[in-house]
């Protein structure tokens, strides 16, 4: 959990600023598949190397199972199978749930924790950047929470809220809301003075200034804060699910490891990683749709 020290709102979007120009189209069309092909080749090489190492029996399969074993564990975790070869007892998924249900449950927790932290973070950011004495009063505590690794206070949360989902949501919320507060304050602080003055001299009152000019001006920074927060929430979810986390992909990754079920552990790790990448891709897409002007002014 060292990722908490990344400054909020500094993530520059480079991809979205490439405007297609008529002359460059051919180049762009040729370049993109090359990049994709490179990624695919690197993935194939990686899997092949992995397979070769395990096929040559260089490593004990307990430490590194073959890609095939991981794939089988992944498939078994998503289907119903006999408990053993020839047995009539059928078991569905692992730990009473399919793997995709574990993933969905983790996503649900992240969704709730994140939704709360977005609402609280953005509102608090607006309040703290408007009311200076409150900022001086509250900001140190937010920075304190931000500096803590979530594993450090999960014990306290369990004492307070038990081992149920309330604790997990709290943990995700506490991990995700500080970067959103900071990004909101940062975004509001960096609104150009002339832009504010332009709205006032066009007749905007205080409320109109905040709603119609300040908010959209700060939106790119807020969205970048949310993007960072999603990353924090995702890295925190495994910690949040260490206790009583089934169903949950983080809990499954942890439990299968303690049960020496290495193929399933690796399958879970891959699912966690891929889900994180997909989530980030979706957020980047949302950012591009909501703030198309970023990088073009």
């Amino acid at each position: 959990m060292t990722a908490v020290s990344i400054p909020a709102g500094k993530v520059k979007e480079r991809i979205s600023s490439i405007a297609p120009e008529p002359g460059n189209n051919a180049v762009a069309r040729r370049k993109l598949p090359v990049g994709k092909a490179q990624g695919l080749v690197s993935l194939l090489v990686f899997v092949a190397a992995w397979w070769a190492v395990t096929a040559a029996k260089l490593v004990n399969p307990l430490y590194l199972p073959s890609p095939g074993a991981v794939w089988n564990a992944f498939v078994r975790a998503n289907t119903c199978n006999p408990i053993a070869a020839g047995s009539t007892r059928i078991v569905c998924g692992v730990q009473q749930y399919f793997l995709w249900q574990h993933l969905l449950m983790s996503l649900e927790r992240i969704g709730v924790g994140l939704a709360l932290s977005i609402v609280v973070g953005v509102v608090l950011g607006f309040v703290l950047s408007g009311v200076r004495w409150l900022n001086r009063l509250i900001m140190p505590y937010i920075n304190f929470v931000r500096a803590l690794p979530p594993l450090g206070y999960i014990g306290l949360l369990i004492v307070w809220f038990g081992i149920g989902d309330t604790t997990k949501i709290w943990l995700l919320f506490l991990a995700a809301f500080p970067p959103i507060v900071l990004a909101t304050i940062d975004g509001l602080k960096s609104v150009n003075r002339d832009r504010i003055n332009s709205a006032l001299s066009l007749g905007a009152n205080r409320a109109q200034l905040v709603a119609l000019v300040m908010f959209p001006s700060a939106l790119p920074s807020v969205l970048n804060g949310i993007r960072l927060a999603v990353g924090f929430a995702w890295t925190t979810v495994v910690a949040a699910e260490l206790n009583n986390g089934i169903p949950g992909i983080g809990a499954l990754a942890y439990l299968s490891g303690t049960e020496m079920n290495t193929p399933l552990t690796i399958a879970c790790i891959l699912v966690i990683g891929v889900a994180a990448l997909v989530l980030d891709g979706i957020i980047q897409l949302v950012i591009r749709v909501l703030t198309p002007w970023v990088g073009k002014e």
């Binding site: 002339d194 832009r195 003055n197 001299s201 066009l202 002007w293 073009k296």
Partner: protein, 278 residues
């Protein structure tokens, strides 16, 4: 501050206060502006500024950079307050920004999340004008500045000159009495700049606005203005306040070449240049 105060104190405001109080749009009296620097020093940006702006004046202010031109404009707009003295509008002290005083910034302050049409409608929208009249007025001003075809585009899809036209349309559509312009054409290429100068002069005639225009170009100041004010630097004081009396062809008053070829124009350029460089 009542009207009688305004008239009574007219004699104390110096030689530039001429005409009846009704004609005076803005009265700048003994204005001083000082700033505190980070090193704790006091810097006087403007010292004892006195002049009045009459209705339908086109005041152009020239001076070197750092002479406090923008500070003066910021005080007229209500963004800043004078350290000493006062600025009266209709006999009242300026309390803060107002849609009665529109500001055209050097860098166009268009909102990138709104298209050009909605940018131009912004002032009317926050002032509660209904959607139909908003759309009509915005169309009219977009037509005036030659941007009818760009109404649906986003500001960042426009060239610098087009962005500045859009900003001018937005300010005019909010219907201000006084238009404050801070080197609006400074960042544009020469050709675009001349086109916009001609258009601005035409719009000023047509809409009978009062304009306060800052520039560092003597040419621009004399071509556009009905009166040129020259500011000195460190501290900024009024060096020269001179009416522009150039014979203009009534058929084509905005013919730049014709204006520039007059003897009066050339003489004025020489005099203003001399004042700036003294």
């Amino acid at each position: 501050m009542s009207d009688s105060d305004n008239i009574a104190s007219g004699s104390t405001t110096g030689d530039n206060t001429v005409g009846a109080a009704n004609d005076v749009a803005v009265d700048i009296r003994h204005v001083v502006k000082r700033f505190h620097t980070d090193r704790g020093e006091d810097v006087t940006a403007l010292n004892d500024i006195n002049f009045a702006i009459r209705r339908h004046d086109f005041i152009t202010v020239v001076g070197r950079s750092g002479c406090g031109k923008t500070t003066l404009l910021n005080m007229l707009a209500g963004f800043e307050k004078p350290t000493e003295g006062e600025i009266l509008i209709g006999g009242e002290k300026i309390a803060g920004p107002s849609p009665k005083r529109g500001v055209v910034f050097q860098k166009p302050q268009l909102y990138p999340w709104l298209n050009v049409q909605r940018n131009v409608e912004f002032g009317m929208k926050v002032q509660g004008v209904d959607a139909a009249s908003r759309a009509r007025t915005a169309k009219e001003y977009l037509h005036i500045v030659g941007l009818s075809d760009a109404a649906d585009r986003k500001p960042y899809e426009l060239s610098g000159g087009m962005q500045q036209r859009a900003q001018i349309a937005r300010v005019l559509a909010a219907d201000p009495d006084l238009v404050l312009m801070d080197e609006p054409f400074g960042a544009l290429d020469a050709l675009t700049r001349e086109n916009l100068q001609v258009e601005l002069r035409r719009i000023w005639q047509e809409k009978r606005k009062t304009v306060f225009f800052i520039t560092h170009s003597v040419d621009e100041a004399i071509f556009l203005g009905t009166r040129v004010i020259v500011l000195s630097s460190h501290p900024g004081t009024v060096l020269m306040d001179i009416p522009v009396d150039i014979p203009r062809d009534p058929e084509r008053p905005e013919d730049i070449e014709a204006v520039r070829s007059t003897r009066e124009y050339r003489e004025l350029v020489t005099r203003v240049d001399a004042a700036i460089h003294q």
